[in-house]
């Protein structure tokens, strides 16, 4: 259907690039969102101080050319690029940056709901004035303009979330004029039913600095149109118009691509990768940036308190087969709880190869030849790190059976699964995480820093290893500590890391695809029509 409208000339100028996401974006203001579909759109328009390198996971300068941190890690000084202007013509300067941070810090009312400002809370804690007693004190203190192009952000304490946190799409910088214009548009609605402000629902109200500007958000047709910013500070985009559509159904996305209705889509089902490639589509490979693990909850089953049992189960699972048959190309067996693209990955961790005999032996030693254990897995869901939970469960179940372990299946839909596993109802369960930014703490911190009912163990060695990382303000120094922590964790084996899975993205043959990013942060300015 596409080619009908080819009227000759440069397709980049005449033809929109249509890309299918899996859901509608939530807001055009990334500060009010926490989902990838929103960020896919906003990232093209609203740029952050720091970014991950194109197609990789190394942290680089974004709007800030360079940055420094103070010794104690509480002061972050950024050196902004020169000559950057917002889409509304205003210049990018330190004041503009600070205006953004101050705006977020001073959010009130329903903006303080974690549904709206999840990432701010995740990285900075609370707000200037917390309205909910459960919100922690904010670690954000202030932002000052040291000079025209040098904003300094001061924290009350150092955090392992930085500098990575500054790459978060949520912290895309908006023009001061926009901030002023939307200042009076509070999150509306009654208590318990916040309505997102109008500016976040329609194009035209907010300006960023990115290679694209918001063209239109057609809610009826479920499409967001991005128009090229010809005054972009960097290399301008090739394609004039990018349209991001919603196709929530996996196979519908594939069929739309095959029928030529879209030029690309994200989250390709692993089983579709090969056939698509054979049909001439391009499936650029992303590096892995996530982890799937099978957690052992030692409070749910005391048998798991025995390290031999934990190890036996690890030996029983044929993780290679999962990678070979279920994950898309580029998937890896996980040796630890972070992928090797994250700094702090250790090559010296203890490994547990697939060895059913060894598993049986260990179980025998532990006196658990007839172990019966419950195993939870989620339904109605595929996550980037876990494309087919049921199939993975099936394989593990068969493996465990081979080692003499009987599994009692317990499945829940996603929204029930999380509280179910969090509160320690499952002895074994599948879960994982896709990193927000390149910092091992973003993975390990939530799991192993202290006692967690989701894991149900207390191990001082592990907790201390994590504490050591958290209190080290120097990012470089942290790397070595992470390696130690990973080794400690894998010795203790609180759960079995299974795999790292690259979520696939696909493009039609007539497109030069953008660099595939392990953090799924593709930049459409890199794409063009052949």
């Amino acid at each position: 259907a596409q080619s009908d409208r080819d009227t000759g000339g440069d397709p980049n100028e005449t033809q929109p690039l249509i890309f299918a996401g899996t859901g509608d974006p939530r807001s055009l203001d990334p500060a009010l969102a926490n989902d990838g579909e929103t960020f896919r759109v906003t990232r093209q328009v609203m740029e952050t101080l720091l970014v991950h390198e194109s197609g990789g996971s190394e942290i680089q300068g974004g709007l800030a050319e360079s940055w420094e941190q103070s010794e104690d890690g509480t002061e972050w000084t950024f050196h902004l690029r020169e000559g950057v202007t917002f889409h509304d013509g205003e210049p990018l300067n330190a004041e503009a940056v600070c205006a953004n941070f101050d705006r977020w810090f001073n959010f009130t009312g329903d903006y303080q709901s974690s549904n709206q400002t999840y990432y701010w809370q995740n990285v900075f804690g609370g707000f200037a004035e917390n309205e909910d007693e459960d919100l922690p004190e904010s670690i954000y203190e202030s932002c000052t303009a040291e000079d025209e192009l040098t904003p300094v952000i001061t924290l009350t304490e150092s955090s392992a979330s930085f500098p990575g946190g500054f790459t978060l799409s949520s912290f895309g910088i908006m023009s001061p004029a926009s901030i002023e214009a939307v200042a009076d548009q509070e999150v509306g609605g009654e208590e318990g039913a916040p309505v997102l402000p109008e500016y976040s629902q329609q194009a035209g109200d907010i300006a960023g600095t990115g290679p694209y500007t918001y063209g239109e958000w057609d809610h009826d047709a479920q499409e967001v149109t991005l128009e090229r910013n010809d005054d972009y500070w960097g290399e301008p985009a090739s394609v004039k118009t990018v349209i991001i559509k919603t196709i929530s159904e996996e196979s519908a996305r594939r069929q739309a691509l095959e029928a030529g209705d879209v030029h690309g889509y994200d989250l390709v089902a692993p089983a579709d990768v090969e056939p698509l490639k054979e049909a001439g589509f391009q499936v650029p490979q992303r590096d892995v940036f996530n982890v799937l693990y099978m957690a052992y909850n030692q409070e749910a089953s005391e048998e798991l308190e025995d390290p031999d049992v934990r190890k036996a189960l690890a030996h029983a699972v044929d993780r290679q087969r999962i990678v070979d048959t279920i994950l898309p190309e580029g998937g890896q067996v996980a040796t630890q709880f972070i992928p090797d693209t994250v700094e702090g990955w250790s090559s010296d961790v203890a490994t547990y190869d697939h060895d059913p005999d060894r598993a049986k032996e260990l179980l025998e030693e532990a006196g658990q030849e007839d172990l019966t254990i419950d195993f939870c897995y989620p339904t109605e869901v595929t996550r980037p790190y876990m494309p087919a939970p049921k199939d993975i469960f099936d394989i593990i179940q068969a493996d465990l059976k081979e080692a003499g372990v009987t599994v009692e299946a317990d499945s829940k839909p996603w929204d029930e699964y999380i509280p179910h596993t969090d509160s320690g109802n499952c002895s074994l369960y599948l879960l994982g995480w896709t990193g927000d930014f390149n910092e091992a703490y973003n993975f390990l911190g939530t799991w192993f820093a202290s006692y967690d009912s989701a894991w149900g163990f207390r191990d001082d060695e592990v907790f201390e290893a994590m504490e050591a990382v958290a209190s080290e303000p120097d990012p470089e120094a942290r790397v070595a500590l992470y390696e130690d922590a990973n080794e400690t964790i894998m010795d203790y084996l609180p759960g079995l890391p299974i795999s790292h899975s690259p979520p696939s993205i696909v493009f039609s043959p007539d497109v030069n695809p953008p660099n595939a990013s392990p953090l799924t942060q593709e930049r459409f300015q890199e794409a063009s029509f052949k």
Binding site: P16, E190, A252, A259, P413, W414
Partner: protein, 334 residues
Amino acid sequence: MLRFIVRRVLQAVPTLFGLSILLFIWVRSLPGGPAYALLPENATAEQRDALRRAMGLDDPVIVQYGAFLGRLAQGDLGESLQTGRPVLTEFAMKFPATVELAVMAMLIAVAVGVPLGYVAARRRGGPLDALVVGGSLVGICTPVFFLAFVLKLLLAEQMGIFPSAFRQTPGIDATRITGLFVVDGIATREWDAAWDALMHLVLPGLALSSIPLAVIVRMTRAGVIEVLGEDYVRTAEAKGLHRRTVRGRHVLRNAMLPVVTAIGLLSGSLLAGAVLTESVFAFGGIGQFIYSATQTRDYPVLLGFILIIAAIYVAINLLVDISYSLLDPRVRVS
């Protein structure tokens, strides 16, 4: 007539009211909840609790229901937790797609079903009859989503005749007025946009029409068979009327009476959201939205949408009754 309408509308009030209570209890007793569906895996327990509180989900159900009714009285159905937009806005955005789709499916079903049913009845017992009846039964027995896939595979991917997804080609220059893309295109004389939207309706329309088509074929057939045996058809024949007069005025007009009811009821269920078809064709109507609302436990959307749908359903039933009474003078309401 007016009295009849008023009566029916008033009768619907307790039904809808009862339904709202049931729905409310149902929706609130769903396990899990938006706090878990909306936040990422790594969110802390505190964050989830805070969100629950912020959404007012910690209050007793009766208090929540009271608040809901209070807002409902002002015509406010709350806001979607998923998208942060008012439920009514959300409905207004999704409903036109569903309407377009339902109308298309119904048009196909009627335009194809009635003639087929008539022919089958006329050739009752013959091979054509068996084919039509058998085909309609197969239509009923095929899971809609599977049919949709097959249609897409053949007509969109293999032959490329129709587009495989969306309501309109992305980026097409179209003005939105009503949200019904075809209507908008015609109203604004953007003929290519209208045509484009129409072409996008064909496949989902076909897929969705399979069940109504089968029902209409069979009802028409049964109706025509019955009417053909009626004395008044014999009277008409005895008057030597032309075949088409007999067929149109005497046979079909009467045989269509039950079909009209069926069309109404079928439209009701089509409008309620063709969950499967919409998701297979990325059509973005209310069915798909309700489905995703069940996944994210978007309570206000579930409650609001289903109530609106029930109201629409009741309204359609009323329309059916009214049109029935227009078509059949015997049941004409005073």
